[in-house]
């Protein structure tokens, strides 16, 4: 850092604007430009600092703006609101009440974020800097104790002590299976000296999960720092981050972060003058779910089709380019600097007996507060859905939550009080997975959801082993048969048998877990499968082949709107008399149902 003068101007107010993918999609870039323009116009651009931060978590209400020192939490801000915010709040010091976050109770007031219902039960360790610092400025990360853990590890701890600390903390992999992180490190460290690699899995493939992306976008240096610590622990000098090409903002911020870390001497040769060298490169994924599997990911970095390899040998012995390699997920790494700084005991105090620390979930689907939440392990699903998530929209009832994406399972209403940790989830046939948590209400068909995931696995199966390539396809065909009304009772048993064989014989984690969505929906919602098969009925009204649209004679006023909008001319009748739908022509697109002003069209 010689010769570098870091200046941070003293300003009276900070305007924090979320620059995560969710809020960027909602227009936060235009908002930043508008703030800059309006502040200039008001002549206070030197007194107020506009900071583009990472994700605040409450993506449903984006774009989000927080103004400090008051801590005013503004939601769904449009460019047209900026002039008022600058004039009233920043110039005159009057909070703009109508734009403040509204609690479910209807109250709008300025209070610390920790007291807002959405944040109250959260504990942010992996996300600690997201929404707090500008991820494109290393100085802000350093101001929040950044790279202090790396300094401590390099100057005060031996590699064995680093591994021991991680081991005592009880940190387990956040990418899915929950393997103890320190064990991987220990295996790799025990290999003979020589070239070794440290890899980061940022190929977040679970559709509906975006925890890792938010960490990379909001706090990229935390991952870089943790990888350097891991490299020191196992004796490696080179790391790779394998990241999805679909995450352009995260890629850009990581590139900036790596550049800045190199400039500051925190990556490269002789870090902190200790003689420790570590360099880091990015590798872009190209859209293959199987590359989240560790051996497939390494094959992909090597430049080939991302097909998995049999284990053993495990990557810690023979990984990337056939040398010892460790691979951890983004969120796992994001916990490491804090553990080194605060100590293993601090971390081990959080969570349950066998699952320590916190877990980040991407809360989505039929829930009010969609977004990102981080809670201590052992928090119940009910707390997440009802208190943090704010419940189900439109007065609908909770039916199930899906965790673990295409490898996971669902948790039904009767188990909503299950504490969320690795072992409780496994015992009820679901899994932690990477942290996607999709809430479903009474309008979701569980057979359809199982089919959705199987379609995904069929699509993403790499084709190397037969159980996965052929078996998942056969399972998908059976589900297709059931949802199209041609199912037989024996199909359900066939599904179970196939699922068992695939689980037992597939080569990699993708295949072994692919039947889970079917097994878990069968376990809790077999009655729904039976309704499809025995009664040719879809209780949730989703499976089109089992539906029929009809017009209620008493409600229909004969306005002819439905007939005009029907794309296939299936509706006929005389004006001012009840219309009828010809089921033989109807393609069940649902347009008429949406257009009818009298709600006379019903789906059965």
């Amino acid at each position: 850092m010689e010769g570098k003068v870091v200046t941070m101007n003293l300003v009276r107010s900070h305007v924090l604007i979320c620059g995560g993918t969710g809020c960027t999609s909602s227009g936060s870039e235009t908002l930043i430009a508008e703030f800059d323009a309006q502040l200039k116009k008001a002549g206070i651009e030197d007194e107020v600092s506009v900071v583009k931060t990472g994700c605040f978590g409450l993506c449903a209400l984006g774009p989000i703006v927080i103004v400090y020192p008051e801590g005013a939490f503004y939601c769904r801000i449009k460019p047209a609101d900026v002039e008022e915010l600058v004039r009233e709040h920043l110039l005159k010091g009057r909070i703009v009440n109508r734009l403040l976050y509204e609690e479910a109770t209807g109250e709008r007031e300025v209070k610390p974020l920790s007291e807002v219902q959405f944040y109250k039960k959260q504990l942010r360790i992996a996300l600690r800097n997201c929404g707090v610092i500008d991820p494109e400025r290393i100085d802000e990360y350093i101001a929040f104790d950044g790279y202090k853990a790396l300094g401590k590890a390099l100057t005060e701890m031996s590699p064995e002590q680093v591994i021991e600390t991680i081991k005592k903390s009880g940190l387990r992999g956040r990418g899915g299976a929950g393997f103890p992180t320190a064990l991987k490190w220990e295996f790799a460290a025990k290999q003979p000296k020589g070239v070794k690699y440290v890899c980061c899995n940022a190929d977040e493939g679970d559709p509906g999960a975006f925890m890792d992306r938010s960490v990379l976008e909001g706090d990229p240096h935390a991952v870089i720092e943790a990888m350097a610590i891991a490299a020191y622990a196992i004796g490696s000098e080179q790391g790779y981050i394998y990241i999805r090409a679909e995450y352009p903002i995260a890629v850009k911020r990581l590139r900036i972060a790596i550049e800045q870390a190199k400039e500051y001497g925190l990556l490269g040769n002789d870090i902190f003058g200790t003689g420790f060298n570590f360099d880091l490169d990015l590798r872009l994924g190209a859209g293959a779910f199987v590359c989240g599997e560790e051996t497939a990911l390494m094959t992909s970095i090597e430049g080939h089709r991302g097909e998995p390899r049999p284990r053993p040998p495990f990557p810690a012995v023979k990984g990337l380019w056939a040398v010892p390699t460790i691979l951890n997920n983004v969120e796992t790494y994001a916990n490491v600097p804090r553990i080194i700084l605060n100590g293993a005991e601090w971390f081990a105090d959080i969570g349950t007996e066998k699952s320590k620390g916190t877990k980040v979930f991407a809360l989505g689907g039929k829930i009010n507060n969609t977004g990102l939440v981080e809670v201590p392990m052992g928090t119940t699903l009910r707390e997440i859905v009802e208190e943090i998530g704010g419940g189900i929209p439109n007065g609908k009832k909770f039916k199930a939550a899906q965790t673990g994406g295409p490898s996971g399972g669902c948790i039904p209403m009767e188990l909503i009080d299950t504490p969320i940790d690795y072992d409780s989830l496994l015992s009820i046939g679901a899994m932690m997975g990477s942290g996607g948590l999709i809430v479903m209400d009474e309008d979701s068909c569980m057979v359809d959801i199982a089919k959705f995931f199987l379609e995904f696995t069929v699509d993403e199966s790499c084709g190397k082993c037969a159980p996965c390539r052929i078996g998942t396809k056969r399972m998908y065909e059976l589900l297709e048969k059931i949802t199209s009304g041609k199912g037989e009772v024996s199909d359900i048993e066939n599904l179970r048998t196939l699922a068992g064989s695939i689980k037992a014989t597939a080569l990699c984690g993708l295949g072994q877990t692919a039947p889970n969505p079917v097994l878990s929906t069968l376990r809790y919602f077999e009655d729904e499968y039976m309704a499809h098969v025995a009664e040719k009925r879809c209780p949730a009204g989703v499976c089109k082949d089992l539906l029929q649209y009809t017009i209620d004679k008493d409600k229909c006023k004969g306005c002819s709107i439905c007939a005009k909008n029907c794309p296939v001319g299936a509706i006929s009748g005389e004006v001012k008399k009840p219309y009828v739908i010809d089921p033989a022509v109807c393609i069940k697109c649902g347009v008429c149902e949406g257009k009818c002003p009298f709600k006379a069209i019903a789906r059965k």
Binding site: T21, G208, G364, C462
Partner: protein, 164 residues
Amino acid sequence: MVANNTIPFNGTPEQEARLSAVIARHKGARGALIPVLHEAQEIYGYLPIEVQKMVSEGLEVPLAEIYGVVTFYTQFTTKPKGEYKIAVCLGTACYVKGSGDIIDRIKARIGLEVGDCTPDGKFSLDATRCIGACGLAPVMTVNDDVYGRLSLDDIDGILDNYMK
């Protein structure tokens, strides 16, 4: 494969020069193929057999291996994309909020199957996995424009903007 393409390959010498520079920069490095293909697709917009041949000769990697890699990863496409690239998110969060119906409506409106491009090169349609904007589900994108919290009634209006 070439026969499937509705638009013939018409790479320019300028594009070829850019690709050669990319190949020269990566040649000899381990694991160079996928980064080169990413950049080649940025230059041409897609990876037809003609481009794969250039990469094969440049990197001295068998064409069969390149074809294997290109067809393995969904990000790589051997078909050209339209002037307006429509992508509908079929991630779980969007799916439970009805993006399956959204994509059906778009298919019907512009007469396209997923993965294809209209003969005039104007529109192409893709189903994407999670783009990470789950808070706005269901979501579609047209080039860089993001449309969130969609309902079926929004589709015609959005497409009309690009029809002119």
